[in-house]
């Protein structure tokens, strides 16, 4: 069965850029799912299983940190690895994301090589 990735970002442009970067990095997922914020992502994850999640932090409705918090409290999805893709590169917020289970982070702007390097070890 093919691998599935979920991209969470309120910017449709950024979701397209991340999708393109995954392809350029040679990480060919069979299914790429998208959500505009953490709330939409949780609703989607209640219906669909995915292998990995790439999430922004600064989003309306439910931000990436709250998404991690709710995901870690849900036994059905807590094991799915999450990598943060964000402009928020402060050490404190990345440490908070890590404490809530994030497996890594990619700072915007990023190259396909950085995406490949970060995701490679998690695939």
């Amino acid at each position: 069965m093919g691998k599935k990735v979920l991209i969470i970002d309120d910017s449709s442009t950024m979701r397209k850029i991340v999708t393109r970067s995954l392809r350029q990095a040679g990480l060919d997922f069979d299914t790429i799912l998208e959500a505009g914020d953490g709330q939409e992502a949780l609703q989607l994850l209640a219906k669909e299983g995915v292998d990995i999640i790439l999430s922004d932090i600064n989003m309306p409705n439910m931000d990436g940190i709250e998404f991690l918090r709710q995901k870690s409290a849900n036994a059905a999805i807590k094991g799915i690895p999450v990598v943060m893709i964000t402009t928020e590169a402060g050490a404190d917020i990345l440490a908070e994301a890590k404490s809530l289970g994030a497996k890594g982070s990619i700072k915007k702007p990023f190259t396909p090589e950085q995406v490949s390097e970060t995701l490679g070890g998690l695939m």
Partner: protein
């Protein structure tokens, strides 16, 4: 403090990394341009230890060309993609400036990006301590990056 160099460095990095576009900073403007004609502006507000805003202003033709490079497709209208792309550029630029101001993310909060477009519009903002407006030239045309910053006491 002048933010011209930081704006120039961050803009060049973002355009070369994410859009594969070479952009060149020009001499910073000495007088703020408030009114924009047939343009698109992406804006992110800043609050906390510093308050202010980061904006990228581009004529509609340049904004469409920038979005086309961003998404790898032809854009011939100021549609939602153009507004979203300009907002996201402002977001990345504001994130870069924020990182220069503090390593603690909670010291400064960034707003969700927004965009303004139209035939003629003005952005009123009281002159602040750190006001910079840097023009850039590119194959897409000229555009401006503006930073208004005030340190809170």
């Amino acid at each position: 403090m002048s933010w011209d160099t930081h704006i120039a460095d961050a803009t060049v990095e973002i355009f070369s990394t994410m859009l594969m576009m070479e952009v060149n900073p020009l001499a910073p403007l000495t007088e703020r341009i408030k009114t924009h004609q047939k343009s698109v502006t992406g804006i992110v507000g800043m609050a906390g230890l510093y308050k202010g805003m980061l904006a990228i202003h581009a004529p509609a033709t340049a904004a469409m060309a920038i979005t086309g490079n961003f998404l790898g497709l032809e854009v011939d209208d100021v549609n939602d993609d153009v507004k979203d792309a300009m907002g996201e550029l402002a977001n990345m630029l504001a994130g870069s400036i924020k990182a220069k101001l503090s390593d603690n993310s909670k010291d400064i909060q960034l707003s969700i990006p927004s965009a303004v477009c139209g035939g003629s519009y003005s952005l009123d903002y009281q002159p602040q301590q750190g006001c910079s407006m840097v023009p850039f030239e590119s194959t897409a045309g000229r555009f401006l990056v503006e930073l208004q910053l005030e340190q809170q006491t």
